[in-house]
């Protein structure tokens, strides 16, 4: 294990972490407003498919990113309708939505691109060297020689944190998750804020999907998200609902993924299946270790009914 190995490992870890960062930033917000992001997995799949479709057909990566984010947001409206308007259990809706998302994108994929397994590759986003900063040894290569979606994910996390902590919108959002009845009594439209939370989370999950296809993989494969939406949920717990800490955790998980990929190729005495399972095992460990003594938003996952007392 020399320096160049580690540099390459963490640089790749940062790239692998980007979808996780987008997903968990969105989930931080939605959980603060009392909405569990079970549906993120499905929104990532939608985002991944539509960003790939539009980027491939138009030849414009940015149009792909935009359409991916919009697809994630529009699909979140479906979840929001069932959760906010029909006041049903968020878990069941999320589970069904994920099945729907996987089925529907597979359906469209087969319909539009045919049944061939090897899908067309697109040119992914190129790394941009940040002048000056990228010259720093190791750190420069890891954090300042990445593509634009990586930088945007960090900017998004910082802005989200500021909005959550410093603005009226953010504080009202917190109130909606902590004590919706009091919030409602003081004139905050609980349902409207939860809708915004859903849409924001859908938007970022869509970006997560776009970053998967347009900056990591370069093509769409069925069930491309591979549980990342759920890893995001664990990251949010680990980060104590703080978007910037979630960035660091996302980078950590990305690095585990990168390490896993490298160890598979290098070959070792440990069977490769163990490495593939590693990110999922770590997620379980995180839930055990980080799940202690935490205070989740009080009304997390509870449908809000104005009329109920």
């Amino acid at each position: 294990m020399n320096a160049s190995f580690l540099t390459a490992l963490f640089a790749s870890g940062m790239r692998q972490g980007v979808p996780l960062i987008y997903g968990s930033v969105g989930d931080c917000v939605s959980e603060k407003a009392g909405v569990v992001g079970i549906c993120i997995e499905g929104e990532i799949i939608f985002g991944a498919f539509f960003s790939y479709l539009f980027a491939l057909r138009s030849g414009n990566l940015w149009l792909g990113v935009l359409m991916g984010a919009i697809a994630g947001m529009i699909s979140s409206l479906l979840v929001a309708a069932w959760s906010i308007y029909f006041k049903q259990d968020q878990s069941i809706i999320g589970i069904m939505f994920n099945i729907f998302a996987a089925g529907f994108t597979n359906f469209l994929n087969r319909k539009i691109f045919g049944v061939s397994i090897a899908s067309e590759k697109i040119e992914t986003f190129k790394p941009i060297k940040i002048p000056g900063l990228s010259e720093i040894p190791v750190i420069g290569e890891v954090f300042f020689n990445q593509d634009i979606l990586t930088y945007l994910s960090i900017v998004l996390a910082v802005i989200t944190l500021l909005v959550m902590k410093k603005t009226k919108l953010g504080l009202q959002m917190l109130a909606v998750g902590e004590n919706p009845k009091a919030a409602q009594a003081s004139g905050v439209q609980v349902q409207r804020y939860r809708l915004i939370a859903y849409m924001f989370c859908g938007f970022t999950a869509g970006l997560a999907g776009a970053s998967l296809t347009l900056s990591t993989v370069g093509s769409f494969t069925e069930v491309i998200s591979a549980g990342r939406g759920f890893i995001c949920l664990a990251i949010v717990i680990l980060a104590r609902w703080n978007p910037v800490v979630a960035c660091i955790a996302g980078f950590g998980f990305g690095s585990i993924q990168a390490l896993q990929l490298r160890l598979q190729i290098m070959g070792s005495v440990v069977p490769h299946q163990f490495f593939i399972a590693l990110p999922y095992l770590i997620t379980l460990v995180v839930l055990i270790v980080a799940g202690h003594n935490i205070r989740a938003p009080k009304e997390l996952g509870v449908p809000f009914d104005k009329e109920s007392r």
Binding site: S91, I95, M96, F97, I99, F100, R110, L284, I288
Partner: protein, 346 residues
């Protein structure tokens, strides 16, 4: 006797299935096929020959067993998304007992022993999630899902390094298979096992203290909140029992259908089982009907793909839509959707 409330529920379920099929028809139309032909291939064709009906029952068995398993957790207001992993573990248990040398040594006994081991394996895999839920407060949704991915890799490892056969990543064949219920069809005694277990489920939920307490924990019986039931114990048990049933599904799949273990033995049954439990409203008879319908959809989807070019994954879309429309129907009938005066919806 069916109560008024029960009748209303049945009405909602039927309406939900019809609405989902209508929505599905729109999707089929938009993709340029004829919905009638598609639905004919999907729903009627699987029943037109004895061979095809056998194919439906192949899916019926695991769907019903996982549906029962998931129902146990639903009663406690928990979600078991780990059907796939637990079924794989059960399948592994049956395979280890069924293949030579143990399978040869045990002969016909390898079947009951295999089912028992499968049950324990499945229960163990789900119990991890139950333990993490009760001990650490970890979301059982995330944990069971992670355990699916881990189970797939564990099975792959065992197949790759220990059970590999003829150079392929699959286990040897098990020695004894479940006998056929009707000679010349693919319908095995697995159907009887699954139906007997539905009866067991019905009795446990309706007649035993365990069933009563489980429903109390899930909150479907009010005013029992302070009755001193050990909630955590019931959370744990419901999860483990759920896994046991999924494990049995794995054993039934190996000994009644595939004869050997592969990575894809569990298919999509884990998630379809959730749909079965929802559509069946956790009611024993409902579960049987729902799993038959889902088996029909699963079995018919490949015929539909051949006949009309509609991809098989359409089934998943339809399944999800059915449950979503059930939830919508329940919301409306429970009065959760308020209407303003003058009939304008708000």
């Amino acid at each position: 006797m069916i109560t008024k409330k029960g009748l209303q529920r049945i009405g909602i379920l039927l309406l939900a299935v019809l609405t989902a099929m209508l929505a599905g028809a729109v999707i089929i139309l938009l993709s340029g096929a004829n919905p009638l032909t598609a639905y004919y291939s999907m729903l009627v064709k699987p029943m037109t020959s004895l061979g095809n009906i056998g194919g439906v029952f192949i899916h019926f068995i695991p769907l019903l067993l996982i549906g029962i398993g998931v129902s146990f957790t639903f009663h406690a207001k928990l979600n078991n998304l780990g059907g796939q992993g637990q079924m794989l573990m059960g399948a592994l248990g049956m395979t280890l007992i069924g293949i030579p040398p143990i399978g040869e040594a045990l002969g016909a006994f390898s079947l009951p022993v295999g089912f028992l081991v499968a049950m324990i394996f499945g229960a163990f895999w789900a119990a991890i999630a139950g333990f993490m839920k009760t001990r650490f407060g970890a979301s059982e949704i995330v944990v069971t899902l992670m355990l699916n991915y881990i189970a797939v890799q564990a099975i792959n490892y065992i197949l790759f390094y220990h059970l590999r056969t003829d150079g392929e990543i699959r286990s040897p064949r098990i020695v004894k298979m479940l006998p056929k219920l009707f000679e010349g069809t693919r319908i095995t005694w697995g159907v009887v096992i699954a139906l007997v277990l539905v009866v067991v489920y019905a009795i446990v939920m309706a007649k035993t203290k365990f069933g009563f307490n489980l429903r109390t924990v899930g909150g479907s019986i009010k005013a029992a909140k302070y009755s001193g039931i050990n909630t955590k114990l019931y959370y744990f048990l419901s999860m483990a029992i759920s896994g046991a049933f999924c494990g049995i599904a794995g054993a039934a799949q190996i000994s009644g259908n595939t004869r050997r273990l592969t990575e894809s033995t569990a298919g999509d049954y884990g998630f379809s089982g959730i749909v079965v439990a929802m559509l069946g409203s956790l009611h024993p008879v409902g579960l049987v009907i729902a799993s038959f319908l889902m088996a029909l959809l699963t079995s018919g989807s490949s015929m539909m793909q051949t006949d009309t070019g509609i991809p098989e994954s359409f089934t998943q879309v339809l399944q999800a839509l059915i449950v979503l429309f059930i939830l919508m129907g329940m919301a409306i009938s429970d009065g959760k959707v308020k209407r303003r005066k003058g009939g304008k919806e708000k």
